[in-house]
């Protein structure tokens, strides 16, 4: 897990995000999967783009 990925997690806790795993680039952020899905290009390689919720857990 690189520092840039950790920074993305910290900045986007409790949100849905889409990451390009090959470039570690943040592609989209949203409150729902639908919102993130609409921001993503249909031309991208779908299997390279991970869509997931960033959990903010209690200490």
């Amino acid at each position: 897990m690189t520092k840039s990925i950790k920074d993305i997690y910290i900045k986007n806790a409790n949100k849905w995000i889409a990451l390009d795993t090959s470039t570690e680039k943040l592609l989209a952020v949203g409150g729902t999967i639908t919102e993130v899905n609409e921001k993503l290009s249909k031309d991208k390689h779908k299997d390279k783009v991970e869509v997931f919720y960033v959990n903010l857990a209690a200490s």
Binding site: Y9, I33, N37, K46, D47, N55
Partner: protein
């Protein structure tokens, strides 16, 4: 037979905002209904403790579908009972592509692949905690 390494995940501690690592048996999956698929892959945990496949409801909505038209089911877990709606979709990952039932709920965030509608597509699902990998045997 495909063997998959556990995926490193992190969660952010609420107070310190420090990132903590953990490893899970995760598959990158897509779902398809009609001709529509998601524009990215969902990270679904292969969960031997889950009876059913359970996904966030919004994943189904992103395919242009109405979640509440499905069969209403109540699913119990550590956190109590949740309401979900069962639909049949195509589940896609790597070279696998099969129709299966998925329950969609607004009360969960992380997709789970459970025994009755995911594991049953394989003769064995093996977890190796030492090597942090799992294997799906057809």
């Amino acid at each position: 037979m495909p063997t998959y390494p556990y995926t490193e995940r992190i969660y952010i501690e609420r107070v310190t905002h420090q990132a903590k690592k953990y490893f899970l048996p995760i598959l990158k999956v897509n779902i398809k209904y009609g001709r529509r698929t998601l524009n990215g892959s969902l990270l679904a945990t292969v969960d031997s403790g889950a009876d059913r496949n359970l996904f966030p409801a919004d994943a189904y909505r992103a395919l242009g579908q109405h979640v509440e038209t499905g069969l209403e089911v109540r699913i119990g877990g550590i956190g109590g009972e949740i309401i979900a709606y069962e639909h049949t979709v195509n589940l896609i990952f790597d070279d696998f592509h099969f129709r299966t039932k998925v329950c969609f709920s607004d009360e969960i965030k992380n997709p789970l692949l459970g025994r009755s509608d995911f594991f049953k597509h394989f003769s064995k699902v093996l977890f190796n905690e030492t090597e942090k990998e799992f294997e799906l045997i057809s």
